[in-house]
């Protein structure tokens, strides 16, 4: 086994798919190099370059964080595009919740609108019936 399959994907596209005989990445605990037949490994990725080497060719990709899964013959890099931090996630969660609460509070307007729309439809239907009746006369 002198080479392994590599796929690098991000949430909106496939960045790289092919074979390699060596791969270097920045793991969450430091630089890692993966050779064919590596034992199963799961680790986080730090923002940094991922280098895929194949014979004498070398390709470099930038990953802004994510995960890397290593199987003896397959390496999968799951890259994030979005900048991630726990504190940022928290802020976003609060924003989503507040939006829902606000809408619920404002819901009165929505209800009024729906009511008005249904009243309008009713009135229009009534008018139509009257017109039809007139035609017959």
């Amino acid at each position: 086994m002198s080479e392994f399959k590599v796929s690098i994907v991000s949430s909106n596209e496939e960045i790289f798919s092919g074979t390699a005989d060596m791969l270097y990445a920045t793991g969450s605990l430091g630089e890692i190099g993966i050779a064919p037949g590596h034992s199963p490994l799961l680790t986080g990725l730090m923002p940094g370059p991922v280098r895929v080497c194949n014979e004498d060719k070398e390709e470099t990709f930038f990953c802004s964080g994510g995960f890397i899964e290593v199987q003896p013959d397959v390496v999968t890099v799951l890259s994030d595009v979005a900048e991630r931090a726990d504190s940022m996630d928290e802020a976003k969660a609060i924003a989503a919740k507040e939006q829902a609460e606000k809408d619920l509070a404002d819901n009165k307007d929505n209800v009024d609108f729906a009511k008005a729309a249904s009243q309008l439809a009713e009135a229009a239907a009534r008018l139509k019936t009257i017109q039809k009746l007139r035609k017959k006369i």
Partner: protein
């Protein structure tokens, strides 16, 4: 008998409506390709994450994550993916009906129901229905950003970890082809353990985790669920444009039929008026 002016007015108003619907049809047709490309572009990631998750499920890890825990179902959260805009036929309402039916079933069995809503149409529908809404995300546009969904996902997952929610269901439209969209309810949590588990248990192995299993699995499973939701949003977008195109095409055709009918009526009315006038003149002349 209606008069000619009235009919003419009606014809012109329908004609302008037809212009709008045919323009919308063309807009939707041009967007279909883009939304479909996005949908297919997102697939490799969700497939790869799924593969990794399956590997993890088949490994004999010492740590078991709460997402795999089968609890007695006391509370279900529905993550509903709807569209932001209307005029797309029965796309949203078909999905919502399915959810409402399930929610009614839950109520009968004493299961609490809550919602996490994506898209303006979902928010207005379930807001008026009066369910418990945990969070919402709207106005994602034609090119949604995974970042916009992080907050919503986090609320639901945190509630699940706290034990307030036992089951999470993702509700969205699956894109079959341009003519067909399939409303689907997919269970996210508890996660299933993968089907080929038995064949692999003969080989006992586990990952080397760096730094530790709990942190990594938590991050990875969260990412997995986020990717499923994001993919559902992309797919729903493609569905929306396809449904919109079909709905607007039908509307344009119907407007055409209506105009034809009205034109016939218009000519009838005009002819009748002329005939009446003529007979009045003839009658008048005879009287003199």
């Amino acid at each position: 008998m209606a008069n000619t002016k009235e009919v003419r007015k009606q014809i012109s108003s329908i004609k302008s409506t037809r212009k709008i619907t045919s323009a919308l049809e063309m807009v939707a047709a041009s967007k279909i390709k883009k939304t479909q490309d996005l949908m297919f572009g997102g697939r490799p990631y969700s497939e790869k994450v799924k593969e990794v998750i399956e590997h993890i499920a088949s490994s004999s890890s010492e740590y078991s994550h709460p997402f795999y825990e089968e609890r007695k179902n006391k509370s279900t959260c529905y993550i509903v993916v709807g569209s932001d805009k209307g005029l797309c036929g029965g796309l949203n309402i078909n999905l919502f009906k399915k959810i409402v039916a399930e929610a009614a079933e839950n109520q009968k069995n004493g299961v609490e129901t809550s919602f996490a809503l994506i898209g303006v149409k979902a928010v207005t529908f379930f807001g008026n229905l009066g369910g418990k809404v945990l969070g919402q995300a709207t106005k994602l546009g034609d090119k949604p950003n995974p970042e916009d969904l992080i907050g919503l996902t986090k609320i639901v997952l945190d509630e699940q970890k706290k034990g307030n929610i036992d089951r999470v269901v993702l509700c969205s439209n699956k894109f079959v082809n341009t003519m067909t969209q399939q409303p689907t309810l997919q269970q996210l949590i508890p996660l299933s353990h993968g089907e080929n588990e038995e064949s692999q248990t003969s080989m006992q192995w586990d990952y080397i985790y760096e730094p530790e299993a709990k942190v990594l699995l938590d991050g990875l499973l969260t990412r997995y669920i986020e990717s499923l939701i994001f993919q559902a949003v992309l797919e729903n977008n493609a569905c929306e444009q396809a449904a919109k195109m079909i709905a607007m095409k039908n509307a344009t055709e119907n407007a055409g039929d209506l105009i034809k009918e009205l034109e016939l009526l218009y000519n009838n009315v005009r002819q009748a008026a002329i005939t009446q006038e003529l007979s009045e003149i003839v009658g008048g002349a005879a009287a003199v």
